[in-house]
Amino acid sequence: MGAGPATANTWAEALAELETRREAGRQMGGPEAVARLRARGKLTPRDRIELLFDPGTFREVGELAIGLIEVPGRADREAAADGVVTGWGLVGGRRVMVVADDGTITAGARGPAANRKAAYLRGLAERHGYPLVLLLESSANRFQSMMGAQFAGESGAGPLGTNPPSARWTRDGRSPIVCAVLGTALGAASFQTMDAEFSTLAAGTAAMALAGPPVVQGGIGVETTTQQLGSGEQHATVTGFIDQVAEDEATCLAGVRRFLGLFPDNSRELPPRRIGGDPADRRCPELVDLVPLDHRKPYDMKQLVEAVVDDGELLELRARYARNIITGYARIDGWTVGIIANQPRHLGGIVDVKAVVKAVRFAQICNAYNIPLVFLQDQPGFIVGPDSEREGALRQVVRLMNAAYGATVPMLTVLVRKAYGFSTWLLGGRAVGADHVVAWPSGSISLAAPEIGVATLLRNELAAGELSEARQLELYASYRQMSQARWAAYDFRIDDVIDPADTRSNLAAALTMVEGRRRGALRTRREFDTA
């Protein structure tokens, strides 16, 4: 390989050189660098691409690019393909664009040609409506090419023949971006991940943070590691920034494939409907045994969700963050839906600040991509008290309100048990325009739980000791009776009270009913908040 001009004088020489250069571009950092990477339990970009795409469908572009690695005092080296592998292929038969950082070359940092390649792919994805998958190793610019005043940025000139604006940071995109964090994602890579429609991170070998240890050391004098700054564990449980923290890269990529299978190609289309072997009218008699009638007794809402959706498959997002609420994608009768369900197993399914943060972003993404929302409610209301007030509960309540009232996708709601407080309205209530609200016979709807109602309305009598325990129980029973969901059905404040065993078929029928409206309301741009 030579970086200089080709010396071919005939077609035969030129075409031979073309093959030689292509082959050189595929060598990545060379066999030793590849072996070192693999020894660290990591995959090369080409390994990852093989796992991502349907076999034999990857079409590479930009493999003839060559970068130059210049470090003072060292001999210049060439960077094959300039350290990033780009192209497109099929995932489940549908086209997807990919930009994969090469960890065998300057730890995945990019040169100028690599940035041009990435910008080209991003531009194509946006212009033609394809999902873009970023397999992130570092994605930072090579330090040496950014030191000095050149950091002021590129001029307006974009890659020859391509669309210069594609290189800009933009939130106007109409196609989903999927980020798999497979190395140390700092700076640009972490920003991108925060805005992605779906993100995954390989625990152990990957981390994500705003800035890495050398910058932290230089900036505030604290010694630290990338894992301390942004490990998978931290993002899974503390920040909730990553949708799926997986144990290894292969699982990450399987998650990406699964997500892409459920998601539309862009915000102007409906998600692909895939009708499998699970009949829409399958009854779920086991649900009656799963959910105790006693509102204080917990159960696993995830089991309920899995019983209702196609083939029991739920792609749960941020599963270990705000565990009192479940968010994820699944299919019902082949239609992709976004599930938002209270989880009584954790904090009684209460809606707290973290739960709202998790639910709002998810609902916004579903809304941006024409994915109907299915709410399964069993919740005692918003969390109250000095701690949550200090956490800014009010702001989150209003964010949820804005998201709920602003949603234009169909919303279908099943009131499983408790449906108390204002959060009942905001999580798929009729008040926010839900298309279909049904309750189980165990459903109970009210401004507040009976105990809270009595404590508020009769607080003077309670304080004066004028209410006997027997009288209190009598009042609770009375409120409980008044809260039964059937009363709401009698005057059509909800659509129906259904046999729990019919939950799946009921939702399937409702999805068919709202399909026409979804086609009429395809979004033209995505609108949602950062992770």
Binding site: V61, K117, P159, D265, N266, I275
Partner: protein
């Protein structure tokens, strides 16, 4: 197919009782002897091609006046999903048909001097190629390596390259005979109707004259007038720039042509066969024209000036190394790569109804 019907009205007066329909190449065609608002409305409603048959060749057709003139003025430059084909020498109708095809004996026509049968065949071919259809293999040809010499200064026929990569080797040319350094027209690639522009490096090294710029600009407007976001523009580029002018008008023509191509929202695929120099390269969508794909052959050279293109940094290898272009192509892969790009740039489809899981 009954192309003869088009010409049945030739030389007659206005057709009484409305607009007759014919089917040419499987497409309904509305016939009219003069342009009227009503004729346009009927054609639009039927989404058919409008064929204007105004007067015999060599004869001056009925000039549009009054309301017809207004309808024509409103039609020029508008986007419609159906092409207008004029067989005319009327200047009004000629202007309205500038997104279509003019067959006439004199004046600014696409094809002159045809007899009736020849004109009928041309109109039929045009109406066929103006729409997508079933894919056809290219006609069997030699390798492009035999058509195009490797040396950058050695001449070859650009049209021969074009005919080797399009379906059945068939195309209908716009402005035939004008500005021979670039030829434009319509063709199909794997069944997809596309606008094509091809440099003729044997004619003054493909340097674009003012008339050449006008040819390309008209082609771009044809592409934009197509349905569903327009027809793709495929260019085969080997141009050493544009003719220098010393008048302001020439500069304006150049600016307008370059801007029209750059700003055009249609899919643009440029194959750089040889030189891509200066604004000539922009007008042919090879440089700075926001093309979706620029695919040079290994002999290609880029430069702001001829001298730049001849230098070391002007080689296609250098452009690929810097990722200014994302790939180089073997000339014999051109058809396949262009077809692949057209399929890719058709955009993501709606997959709303898919049957059994397809193995994802």
């Amino acid at each position: 197919m009954n192309a003869g019907l088009v010409f049945a009205a030739w030389g007659l007066g206005p057709v009484p009782g409305g607009l007759p329909l014919a089917v040419i190449a499987g497409r309904p065609v509305t016939l009219t002897t003069e342009l009227s608002t009503e004729a346009l409305a009927v054609a639009a409603r039927r989404r058919s091609a409008l064929v204007l048959v105004a007067g015999r060749p060599n004869a001056v057709g009925p000039a549009a006046t009054g309301p017809d003139a207004v309808a024509l003025a409103g039609l020029s430059g508008t986007r419609r999903p159906w092409p207008i084909v004029a067989v005319t020498t009327s200047p009004w109708i000629a202007r309205a048909a500038d997104l279509g095809l003019m067959v006439g004996a004199t004046g600014p026509a696409d094809h002159d001097g045809l007899d009736e049968a020849g004109a009928a065949a041309l109109v039929a071919a045009f109406l066929e190629l103006a729409f997508d259809g079933p894919p056809e293999p290219p006609v069997s040809v030699r390798s492009l390596l035999e058509i195009v010499p490797f040396g950058i200064d050695r001449p070859y026929a650009g049209a021969e390259v074009l005919e080797a990569i399009i379906d059945g080797g068939r195309w209908v040319e716009f402005d035939a005979g004008a500005a021979a350094e670039v030829r434009t027209g319509i063709a199909r690639i794997e069944g997809r109707s596309v606008g094509v522009a091809v440099s003729e490096p044997a004619v003054g090294r493909g340097v674009l004259s003012r008339a050449g710029l006008a040819r390309v600009e008209r082609l771009v407007r044809w592409c934009e007038a197509g349905p569903d976001g327009g027809r793709p523009l495929v260019s085969l580029v080997d141009t050493d720039g544009v003719t220098p002018w010393d008048d302001a008008e020439g500069a304006v023509t150049l600016r307008d042509a370059a801007t029209a191509v750059r700003r055009s929202p249609v899919v643009k695929v440029a194959v750089v066969m040889g030189r891509a120099v200066g604004l000539g390269a922009t007008v042919l969508a090879a440089v700075g024209a926001r093309a979706d794909l620029v695919l040079p052959w290994p002999r290609a050279r880029f430069g702001l000036t001829s001298a730049d293109a001849a230098g070391a940094s002007g080689s296609a290898w250098s452009a690929a190394q810097e990722a200014d272009v994302v790939d180089l192509a073997h000339p014999d892969d051109t058809r396949g790569r262009v077809a692949e790009a057209l399929e890719l740039f058709r955009g993501a489809r709606c997959y709303a109804e898919v049957g059994e899981e397809d193995g994802s």
